[in-house]
């Protein structure tokens, strides 16, 4: 089995999380593996996250009128090798949110589309290991007219977000790697369906000034079983740069100061008997947070990778 294919599948496997900019595991393009020119990977992923406690500001609480909050999602994704060093990635999730208790309905619909460009900028070989630098830039935006001011049931923030991320990876030829990344998220204003709201003061506008955010991730990964199984352990988080806390017993608001740290893992298996096909599973648990739920998340999916075209002068495996 080619390590290239494995890598391709790892790319697509991790990509599943790209389209969950507000939740769940690995929220941004976070891997350091490139698809070769002409290769396309497509993926379909089912995700499930839930919480029954959340942080109201810094106060951790339950809410009997929400019970257990659950979000289910189905997402389509792709990753395309434009050149060996530049990849285009995209994703679009449909999701449904539900409370288990209370008198309010959940929401459902398309959330945010995402498009990212990732490049291999630098690579240093150092004997049996290598060090690489991969910048990523991406844009996400609402894919439907979902109600933004309906947290925690809202599907997303309804804002456009431009994300810049730097990824550094140290790889050893024995099949393990360490990866770290830092991202900055520029957010546009968002619009809600009322023209007065109170955060720390009243605002006479339907426009909400969304704070920017930063994110980080640190991953330890390994390829085992003759490179057919990839295992990763990730610690990551997000820090909103500004925003207000949820007031006591108030509803959350899109411009809240949301923060979390999380621990998660993923497994991805490439089938030796079916070329280009893999399955993957992830899990995550929120360790700390602010103005967010303490989420436990799972996802599972299937990816398929194939040559869309054959680049001149090079055969694809």
């Amino acid at each position: 089995m080619s390590s290239f294919l494995i890598k391709t599948l790892i790319v697509s496997g991790l990509l599943l999380m790209l389209a969950f900019p507000k939740t769940a595991l690995a929220q941004t393009p976070n891997d350091a593996i490139m698809m070769e020119k002409g290769q396309l990977c497509i993926a379909a992923i089912y995700g499930h996250d839930s919480w029954d406690e959340y942080w109201e500001g810094t106060l951790k609480r339950k809410n009997g009128n929400i019970g257990t909050f659950t979000r289910r999602s189905v997402m389509g994704m792709f990753s395309l090798g434009i050149t060996d060093n530049i990849n285009l990635l995209g994703g679009l999730p449909w999701m449904k949110t539900d409370p288990s208790a209370g008198q309010m309905k959940g929401a459902k619909g398309l959330q945010d589309w995402g498009l990212w460009v990732k490049a291999k900028a630098l690579e240093f070989k150092m004997g049996k290991s290598s060090l690489g630098l991969y910048p990523v830039i991406g844009l996400t935006g609402p894919a439907s007219n979902y109600a933004v001011d309906y947290l925690p049931f809202a599907l997303g923030f309804g804002a456009y977000e431009l994300m810049g991320r730097g990824i550094v990876i140290y790889e050893h030829e024995k099949g393990f790697y360490l990866r770290g990344s830092y991202g900055y998220h520029l957010r546009s204003n968002t619009e809600i369906e009322r023209d007065y709201y109170y955060t720390t003061h009243g605002v006479y506008s339907s426009t909400v000034d969304m704070p920017n955010a930063s994110s980080f991730a640190a991953t330890l990964g390994a390829l085992v079983l003759d490179n057919s199984l990839k295992i990763e352990l990730t610690y990551d988080g997000m820090n909103t740069l500004g925003g207000s806390d949820i007031r006591r017993n108030d509803m959350p608001f899109p411009s809240n100061n949301m923060e979390f740290t999380r621990i998660g893992g993923s497994l991805q298996y490439y089938f030796p008997f079916a070329k280009g096909l893999s399955v993957l599973a992830t899990g995550g648990y929120t360790l700390s947070g602010r103005n967010m739920g303490q989420t436990t998340s799972f996802s599972g999916g299937i990816t398929y990778q194939f040559g869309l075209w054959t680049p001149k002068g090079g055969a694809v495996d």
Binding site: M104, A121, G164, Y204
Partner: protein
């Protein structure tokens, strides 16, 4: 590839810079100083709400125009207005020609700040806000719609009486404003022919401070600071002298005391009835009609919001039975079933436009409430029509008395009929907004809004169609949201109009038409 990244980095930086230039979002109604459409020179003869006469609160006769003391005061104002600091200049433009607009905004802001439902205690019980200990959690007040409607009514009715009295003395003493006495006084707001003594702005500030401090005791210092700034701004603007302000302040305090005395005995202190009384209201309805509203929250709230608000003393309606609506349709009746079918249809097929209407009028927790929404509309109409403070207060007063009366009538119906909400009656039914903790029939949004629309239409007849359309939309919004049955809203709308008409009739006879 390097070029792509250079472009990306430049684009990112450019966006970051653009974003840092995003305009600050407005935190108040943007308006600039205006010339009053009329001065209402006879305003001192209008009939006050509570005062026996415009002269009930006495103020001393001012020093004569030619007196040395007045000349010295004019010189003081002149010196103060000559060169303003940036802060002083900002304060003048903020308070501007009609401080009522700002105080109404401050009142709305405080409602939004205090309009949060108390959380459950760890053991599943609930604690009610305690006016005797306002800073203990949950803070006093919980500024829910009945509380807010009453606050707006006292605030604005007291303003109206204080300004009638101010106008009375202005034209009794006819002492000129400083810029009339000395043409070299620099002013930063439009000059008028209004006599200066007493300062109407100072009376407005004093009434606001007194009423709002009584309603929001934890905001005492904030309100005192605002009132002081407002009164000082009148000197900085060059439109009043110090004795104008002292007299206006004293007048405002005197009038506010009369209104606060009424507030003490209007029945509000019994409105948040204890559980035994709240339960007995439900039991009576169950016995009489065969149904009762049951709070569906987890843990269940044992007492509804202000069960005895229906017994608070109204302003304009003669008695509560006069405006009590007919009973709601019995569950199982064809009208009831049609209303259920309509709600289920919205729940499955709500359009984006209907959702927007539901959210626009939600006015729920953390907002200025539906009465506040109408105060905002009133403020906008007042500014657009360039009303002077006296005439503005008249609009606020009759509108807010009508809104409060409508609220009292609505709460009477709510706890008399004790009718369940759709989320209680229809199995599995859920709403898209928070479901309030009081019976459904009739809809508060509908009742408040209809009363507001009918009074505002009286004062701004060329906007009648808009006000009525808004009231209808507010009523519809609750059905779209799944909070109310259609008949809750429809009957509430009729009930609100019936309440509002009493206020309009009084306005028609107050001399201000």
């Amino acid at each position: 590839m390097r070029r792509i990244f250079t472009i990306a980095i430049v684009a990112f930086a450019a966006l970051a810079i653009l974003q840092s230039c995003e305009k600050d979002l407005p935190t108040n109604l943007e308006y600039s100083a205006y010339d009053f459409a009329s001065l209402d020179e006879n305003g001192g003869t209008w009939k006050p709400i509570l005062l026996d006469s415009a002269a009930q609160i006495a103020i001393p006769a001012p020093a004569e125009e030619g007196s040395a003391s007045f000349q010295a005061e004019v010189a003081e104002t002149k010196a103060a207005a000559e060169k303003l600091t940036a802060d002083q200049s900002e304060a003048v433009q903020y308070w501007s020609t009609n401080g009522l607009i700002r105080w109404n905004e401050i009142a709305r802001e405080l409602v939004a700040k205090y309009n949060l439902t108390p959380a459950a205690n760890a053991d599943g019980t609930y604690t009610l806000p305690d006016p005797a200990n306002p800073s203990a959690y949950p803070n006093f007040p919980f500024a829910h719609p009945p509380y807010a409607s009453r606050m707006y009514a006292y605030w604005s009715a007291a303003q109206f009486d204080a300004l009638i009295a101010a106008w009375h003395y202005k034209y009794q003493y006819n002492r000129p404003a400083p810029y009339k006495a000395d043409a070299s006084v620099v002013t930063h707001l439009p000059q008028t022919d209004l006599p200066g003594y007493p300062a109407d702005g100072a009376a407005v500030a004093a009434v606001s401070k007194a009423i709002l401090t009584a309603m929001f005791p934890l905001e005492k210092d904030f309100l005192a600071e605002k009132a002081e700034e407002h009164q000082n701004s009148l000197i900085w603007a060059g439109i009043n002298v110090q004795s104008d302000i002292v007299a206006g302040d004293s007048l405002g305090k005197g009038v506010a005391a009369i209104f606060l005395a009424r507030a003490k005995t209007d029945g509000m202190k019994h409105a948040q009835a204890p559980k035994a009384i709240s339960d007995s209201l439900a039991a009576v309805a169950l016995e009489r009609f065969g149904w009762q509203f049951i709070n569906q929250e987890v843990p269940q709230r044992p007492v509804g919001i202000a069960p005895l608000y229906g017994r608070v003393k109204p302003w304009c309606i003669p008695n509560i039975e006069e405006v009590r609506p007919v009973p709601p349709p019995a569950p199982g009746s064809s009208e009831y079933e049609a209303a259920v079918a309509e709600l289920k249809d919205y729940s499955e097929n709500l359009t984006d436009e209907q959702r927007e209407i539901a959210n626009f009028w939600a006015d729920g927790a953390g907002t200025y409430t539906p009465p506040g929404h109408w105060n905002r509309f009133a403020s906008e109409a007042i500014v657009d029509n360039k009303l002077n403070p006296l005439r503005s207060a008249r609009v606020f007063a009759y509108m807010n008395m009508a809104i409060m009366d409508a609220g009292i009538s609505c709460w009477d119906a709510k706890y008399y009929y004790h009718y369940p909400r759709p989320t209680q009656s229809i199995p599995g039914f859920k709403a898209i907004l928070g479901v309030p903790n009081f019976p459904g029939y009739t809809s508060g949004h509908s009742t408040f809004s209809a009363a507001a629309a009918i009074t505002l239409s009286h004062f701004f007849p060329n906007r009648q169609a808009q006000f009525e359309a808004w009231a209808q939309e507010a009523a519809d919004s609750r059905v779209y949201a799944g909070i109310h049955f259609r008949f809750d809203s429809e009957v509430g709308n009729t009930q609100g109009k019936a309440c509002g008409i009493y206020a309009v009739d009084i306005a028609k006879a107050d001399g201000g038409e």
